[in-house]
Symmetry: C2
Subunit: 407 residues, 2 copies
């Protein structure tokens, strides 16, 4: 099956927001074995939406129309669909009742405009929107399907996650495995995979560069599920032979989740003393559900005075080596251990920029402290914006720690 993803919204065309819907839906369609041919963004303009919809109905089987389901005059996706396929827009009683109830329970007043959000294309299948107001719809038109989805990502994403798999069916079985590789650039990973020569007509292997790691995704399509699983397993084992411990997790497990899981399994507590990363490192851990069993306390010691006061870093060390130094990173982590008694104490110090104060922008030190006989300080130089450098220090610390704990 072939698909197009059309995003409606002037804010995209003027460059005010990024079209993340196309990427999000493509990823899921890809996993369902659907071939996405086009991503298109158009303004909130009735004629434009109509023209694009007409054109795409001739080209693909599935059309995703995202956005333009709101209450304002700008929202005209339903009108466009109605005009193109010649089907009326009607008030849906259930949606109407839900809307009235919602406004009764909120502090907002319902305006006449809001009624638009209980209107649907006749004979469509409603996709209940539990995350917002405007319902989604699936409209069958000949052998084509048109999906209407609300624009806000926090509504569209859970709807796509929850409903898509039930409404897109193909006779093919699809088997997917994905491996997350860290510590090697995407081009190196891709090159090694190409040399293994594992792809066949029905099995594709794609690499996806993330911020600091690469996902290898194996997608196999065919009639016989067991034979597909066997073939994919064989490929995965060859990839493990090639990439070894650089494969830090499988599936949708992030770097942060991997670390929290590992710390839980080993019953270890972690604390951070953050300077260059300013809280971001701790927040990557606390963003994961269940973080409280591995992190009780963490410190952002941004100024020199606070490094002395809280962590007991020596004034001499700061004066002799500067705050961005191996020596200060070590004393920070050691002091953190004395303060917290946590099993693993990690400190970060560095120059995030954009204006260097003492050392060059991008230089940083991470100390991994287990005890006085077992610690390591690592120096890195990263390029990029302030936020890129901060993020990279965090991801490096987490990845290195995962590799150390796996040992």
């Amino acid at each position: 099956m072939r698909a197009s993803i059309i995003t409606v919204g002037t804010e995209i065309l003027v460059g005010s927001i990024l079209n993340t819907h196309a990427e999000y839906i493509s990823n899921i369609l890809n996993d369902l074995g659907v071939h996405v041919d086009y991503h298109i963004s158009v303004r909130d303009n009735l004629e434009q939406i109509e023209n694009i919809l007409k054109g795409q109905l001739e080209k693909v089987d599935l059309i995703f129309l995202c956005g333009g389901l709101g209450p304002t005059a700008d929202d005209m996706t339903k009108e466009a669909v109605s005009n193109v396929i010649g089907r009326s827009i009607i008030l849906d009683e259930i949606q109407h009742k839900k809307l009235l109830k919602r406004f009764r329970e909120s502090k907002f007043k319902m305006t006449e405009n809001n009624l638009k959000q209980a209107m649907i294309i006749e004979n469509s299948t409603i996709l209940d929107n539990k995350w917002g107001i405007a319902p989604g719809e699936i409209i069958e038109y000949g052998d084509k399907k048109i999906f209407l989805l609300p624009g806000p990502p926090k509504e569209l994403r859970p709807m796509v996650d929850e409903y898509l798999k039930y409404y897109i069916t193909d006779n093919n079985e699809v088997v997917i495995r994905s491996l997350n590789v860290a510590g090697l650039g995407e081009s190196v990973v891709e090159d090694k995979i190409r040399k293994l020569n594992l792809e066949t007509k029905n099995i594709s292997i794609n690499t996806f560069a993330k911020f600091y790691d690469t996902e290898i995704k194996i997608i196999a399509e065919g009639r016989d599920r067991n034979s597909l699983i066997e073939k994919v397993d064989l490929i995965v084992s060859k990839l493990y032979d090639t990439f070894g411990t650089n494969i830090y997790s499988e599936g949708k497990i992030t770097l942060n989740e991997s670390l929290v899981k590992l710390l839980k399994e080993k019953e270890l507590k972690i604390s951070f003393a953050e300077s260059i990363t300013g809280g971001l490192l701790a927040s990557q851990i606390t963003s994961i559900s269940g973080a409280s069993s591995v992190l009780s306390e963490s410190y952002i010691t941004y100024s020199n005075d606070v490094k002395i006061k809280i962590l007991g870093v020596k004034e001499n060390t700061l004066n002799n080596y500067g705050v961005v130094s191996k020596e200060v990173a070590y004393e920070m982590a050691k002091g953190l251990r004395a303060l917290t008694k946590s099993d693993i104490c990690i400190s970060t110090t560095g120059e995030a920029g954009p204006n260097p104060s003492e050392k060059e922008v991008g230089l940083n030190y991470i100390c991994y402290y287990f005890d006085e006989n077992k610690y390591k300080v690592v120096e890195h130089k990263f390029k990029g914006t302030r936020n890129e450098i901060q993020k990279r220090v965090c991801d490096t610390a987490i990845l290195d720690l995962i590799l150390m704990l796996r040992g």
Copy 2:
């Protein structure tokens, strides 16, 4: 003038990478007064590229083709253009010499494929690529212009920045102002603006919903720059009359930047005692350049024991009211003040979910502590995922503090 931005690359259609080119170029075109009608992404497929190009040549004046200029078989943008407009691809002598020189100086061997990158569409204007190998091109075709730009963002972005303004000339002047409004939903903001009835034929006012705030962008186009500025100023003053202190900044200044700027101006130091937000709040401040002059230290007190040990929260208070309570938020902030002497001490406590331990998921308390006679604890209930709830607590704290400091 009207434009379309076409991005070529299968990796976009399978959801492997986000199309950031369209947003980047749109932003610049918008500020040059060019009306962007379409963003389109297509696979590395000759027929698809040709079809889209043909269609767009009938619709718009300027076409940007991004990507597909590399040396591999997948790169077929030039071939598509050549086929559609019936102009040959020729070897450019200057580009050829540059290529030979480049390979002579590098450790890589030049393959026959690489020669493709010295080939251009005949009669095109070359845009020198100082950031990579493949040159850009501008092809005049009747009264249309086709721009060819290389795919890697680190080449495309500086080329767009450097060259676009010289090759897109319009007789119109463009004046832009943008105001950032927080504390009101986008639909409320839009509704109020519509009622003011400020738009004219040459002046558009658009609202853009961000995570927790709304940008109002006023774009005026016309011949006389001074008269445009006057008209826009008048509109801005009416918007200030309507939205008052809810306008927290102008232009590309974020919530975080606004707070850091305000704290700097007032020479105030801030510290956080974070529980539900687990470091994210501090990291929003330290993500801003110059944060060190307003934040010296900050604490993540995740467990009850640490709230007692570090902040002096009373065990009784935790037992009587629970950790997610007004009383604990207050004692956290008060203890933080004693520990840090910071001018402003903010604490957060709440239930981020997904699994509630004590109180309902989404319930949270923020305490803003200036001194024993001036503090405030605010209760909120937020919906969403763990990370959305954490982010919303942070943005709420920052916005409320901005409004308090503005008084």
